[in-house]
Every structure is written in C-alpha cells, then in structure tokens.
C-alpha cells in the first residue's frame, strides 16, 4: 500500500501541492489527471522523492518517511523510499551509451550488485515481457519511441519495485506507438503491478486505471473509480475537464 499523508510541496512562495492525502492499494492502477500545471507530475515525483515534499508523510509498504519544512532528509531516508519505486519518464531517458539490455541491467549490476549473468537473465525475461527481446543488443538511438519506452519500462521494473510510477508515458508518442506502450502497461496491470500514472491519454487512463484522481491547482478535486470519473463525475469542474478530453473522439468507456 502507498499512503500519502498531508503532502505539501512549495517552490518558494509557489504552492504546487496542498495537503494531498491519498491511499493507493497494492495491485491497483491509479491515474492522475488534470490540467497542465495542476500538480500531477510533481505529485508523482514526490512519491519517489525526485522532488522532496515540503511537508507530509509518505509510506510505501513497510517504509515511511516524514518531511518537515526546512529539514533536509538524509540520503538513506530517500533511498529506502526510492528503492520501492520504479519510474517511467515522458521522454524515456534511456542511457544512450548503453544497449537496450545494458539499460535494463544497469540498476541490477550497479546498485544491487548482482552478478552480470543473473542480471542478464532477469533483463532478458523483462525485455521478453515488453516484447523487446529481439532488440536487446540495439542502441537506444536506433529504436522507435514506443520501443524506447518499452525498454524504459523494463528498466524500471528490473529491481522489482513495489510501485511503477509513469510520468506521461505516452505523450511523446504518436497514437500508434502509444498503443504499443498502452498494451504493455495493460498487461502489467493484469498481472497485478501497482502503478501510478500521470497522463493526458484518455485511452491509457480509461483502459488501464482502476482509480482516477483529478488534480487541479495542487488540490484533489475528485477521486473515484475510472468508470465513475469518466462516466459520471460528481464535480462540475471534473465534468468540464473530462469533456475536453473526449472532444472529437468517441471512446468505449
């Protein structure tokens, strides 16, 4: 279970997140939606501490970290939370000087100090899962965006994190390439991978997410099952936002 209690994030005078409380059960997929600048990405990055919350408590599994204004958390404190997470970025951020399999093995050999052959076996298994085993010796620059993102997903999953965080995983991709990534994430969801994703991609959110959190101006406007939020949102503001996502398309939700 992931539990966020009273998470607040400020950059100077700017309040990005206000008193966010959220519980994410193990084995579920949660989509963070909302307008740009609403705090989706920041909230996601607070979960793996790429951004340090100004205040609040984060619990992932058995690990807890509490933050207070003006107090810098110890590195060990950050690591024990971060080790519970894997992250997929909008722009993939594969290591360009390493092959696909090298990218997936990196965390295992460098951080977890696995022997190379054990790491390689794990990497092959994950690359097979994301349908990239045939390209394992390819350099990232020779792969399509969708392929790069699938390798990035394998890299994030390699150390078996408790939760996979996805920051706009399909927004740098054309619809066809995005579909490959949605398929892979859908497969992971079926296998019970806990995921939290910030996304504008309605197909991604509606197809995969169990729960949806609508964030605006650093506040949670509404939370609910994806069926309810996309089908029958309670708040007028949510309804308005969802209708803009729907505009011009008809999705089977």
């Amino acid at each position: 279970m992931i539990e966020l209690q009273h998470i607040e994030k400020r950059f100077g005078e700017n309040v990005i997140l206000k008193d966010i409380c959220l519980v994410i059960p193990e084995g579920t997929v949660t989509a963070l939606v909302g307008p740009s600048g609403g705090g989706k990405s920041t909230l996601l990055r607070c979960i793996n501490l790429l951004e340090i919350p100004t205040a609040g408590t984060i619990r992932i599994g058995d690990e807890t970290a509490t933050f207070q204004p003006g107090k810098k958390p110890a590195w060990q404190e950050i690591q024990k939370i971060r080790r519970q997470t894997g992250m997929v970025f909008q722009n993939f951020q594969l290591f360009p000087h390493q092959t696909a399999i090298g990218n997936v093995m990196e965390g295992l050999t460098t951080v977890l100090r696995w022997p190379a052959d054990k790491a390689r076996a794990r990497a092959v298994e994950l690359l097979t899962k994301v349908g990239m085993a045939h390209k394992m010796d390819a350099w990232p620059s020779t792969l399509s965006g969708g392929q790069q993102q699938r390798v990035a997903i394998a890299r994030a999953l390699a150390p078996s994190p408790r939760v996979l965080l996805c920051d706009e995983p399909t927004s740098a991709l054309d619809p066809e390439l995005a579909a490959e990534v949605v398929d892979v994430l859908g497969k992971l969801a079926k296998e019970g991978t806990t995921m939290v994703m910030a996304t504008h991609d309605l197909r991604l959110a509606s197809k995969i997410a169990n729960n949806v959190v609508f964030l605006e101006a650093g506040n949670i406007v509404e939370t609910g099952s994806s069926r309810n939020i996309f089908g029958a949102p309670a708040q007028e503001r949510t309804k308005q936002f969802i209708s803009t996502l729907n505009a011009g398309h008809s999705y089977d939700i």
């Binding site: 793996n48 790429l50 590195w75 690591q79 971060r82 080790r83 997470t85 894997g86 992250m87 970025f89 722009n91 993939f92 951020q93 594969l94 290591f95 360009p96 000087h97 390493q98 092959t99 990196e106 965390g107 460098t110 951080v111 977890l112 350099w139 990232p140 620059s141 020779t142 890299r155 994030a156 390699a158 150390p159």
Partner: protein, 222 residues
C-alpha cells in the same frame, strides 16, 4: 639536406625523451585536475567553488611562459628549488587543468537533467550516477575540445625550452648555435611538431568514430 639528416636523430631523441613524456604526463595530470576543478565548481561547497574559480581565473589570465618562469626562476627565492622537468610538469599541469576544467564543466552541464533523474530513479547515488551515466555521455561530447587542448599542449611544450628543459625545440636551438643554420633546423623542428599533431588529429577522428558507432548522440534521446 645533409644537416637535416644528421640532426634528425638528435631532435627525434629529444622529442621522444622529453616532449612526448612531458605532453603525456601533464595531459593526464591536467585532465584529473580539470575534472576535480569542474566537479568542485558544479557541485562543491561555496568556499571551494571560490578557490576553484580563483585558480581558473589566475591561470587563464596570465601567460603560460610567465607562469613557467615564476615556478622555475621565482620559487627558489622562497626556498623552493625545482629541477627543470618537474617545474615544467607543474606549470603545464596547472595550465591544462584550468583550461580543461572549463571544457569538462560545460560537457557535464550539457547532459540533460533527465539522465540524472533516470539514474536516481533506478537507485543510483550521486557517485554512481556521475561515473556510470553522466561522465560517459559527457566524455563523447568532450573529445573534440579536449583534443584541441591536447594538440595545443604538444606545441606549447616548446616553451619548456625557456626553463632549460632539453626538449625538441631546445635541441634545435643548440644545433643552431653551432651550425648557424636556423632556417633548416627550425623548419625541421616544425615538421616534427606537425607530424605529432597530425597523428593526434587522426587519433581524435578515430575516437569520434568509435563513440558515434556505439550509442549515437544525446539528441536522439530528446
């Protein structure tokens, strides 16, 4: 022509025993100093950043020849007596360190912030991210400007002649003093420097091709 052949051995020997070792030793030491200085300026605590900036400011702002004279002829007044070769090594290392620190600082900064985040997100600490993710990418961008420094250094070692290091140029000067044939001898010395620089340029081309074969460019990530 006769003289050229006769002196060639002496000049090549001076190059082999002094110019090339001086270049290699000071480039390696200077590169290490440059790396430490660059990392200090980017990530160090404010007092150390100030020290690093001061060092770069002084070395870049004063002539290398003057620096060599201060070290070799000036320091003995303070009781610090150095042989010519170590004095040259210190002078050139300080110079290479200052210039390469600016290059290294720039190429480290050129690696996108997302690469740091990707490294941290798989659990790396700062040192692992730096050595495994950032520096390997920075290194390939650094090949052309660092090659520039290296080739300049080969030629600049001729300044060591002024502090009595018997390197290639000084060897030429000495033969001139007995034969009175400056044109032939100095052109001969110039040709040897040219051959060395050309060899290094070829090496640079090879390194660049090697890097572009493996992994492509940073832009491919964006």
């Amino acid at each position: 022509m006769q003289l050229m052949w006769e002196s060639l051995g002496t000049l090549l020997w001076a190059g082999l025993v002094f110019t090339i070792p001086l270049t290699l030793i000071t480039f390696v030491l200077g590169l290490l100093l440059g790396l430490v200085t660059a990392v200090t300026r980017l990530f160090g605590p404010p007092p150390l950043v100030a020290v690093a900036r001061f060092y770069v400011w002084v070395i870049r702002g004063t002539p290398l020849l003057v620096q060599l004279f201060v070290i070799f002829y000036g320091l003995p007044s303070l009781g610090i007596l150095l042989d010519a070769f170590p004095a040259a090594v210190i002078g050139f290392t300080l110079s290479v360190g200052a210039y390469t620190s600016e290059i290294i600082r720039a190429v480290i900064s050129s690696v996108p912030k997302g690469q740091w985040e990707a490294a941290y997100s798989i659990g790396m600490n700062w040192r692992q991210a730096m050595s495994r993710t950032i520096l390997p990418q920075a290194a390939r961008v650094a090949v052309p400007p660092l090659s520039n420094t290296f080739i300049s250094l080969v030629k600049d070692t001729s300044l060591a002649a002024a502090i009595t290091v018997p390197e290639l140029f000084q060897a030429a000067q000495r033969i001139v003093a007995t034969t009175y044939e400056p044109l032939i001898l100095y052109i001969e010395a110039a040709i040897i420097y040219l051959v060395l620089s050309t060899f290094l340029s070829t090496l640079q081309g090879y390194l660049e091709r090697h890097f572009s074969r493996s992994g492509g460019t940073l832009e491919a990530q964006a």
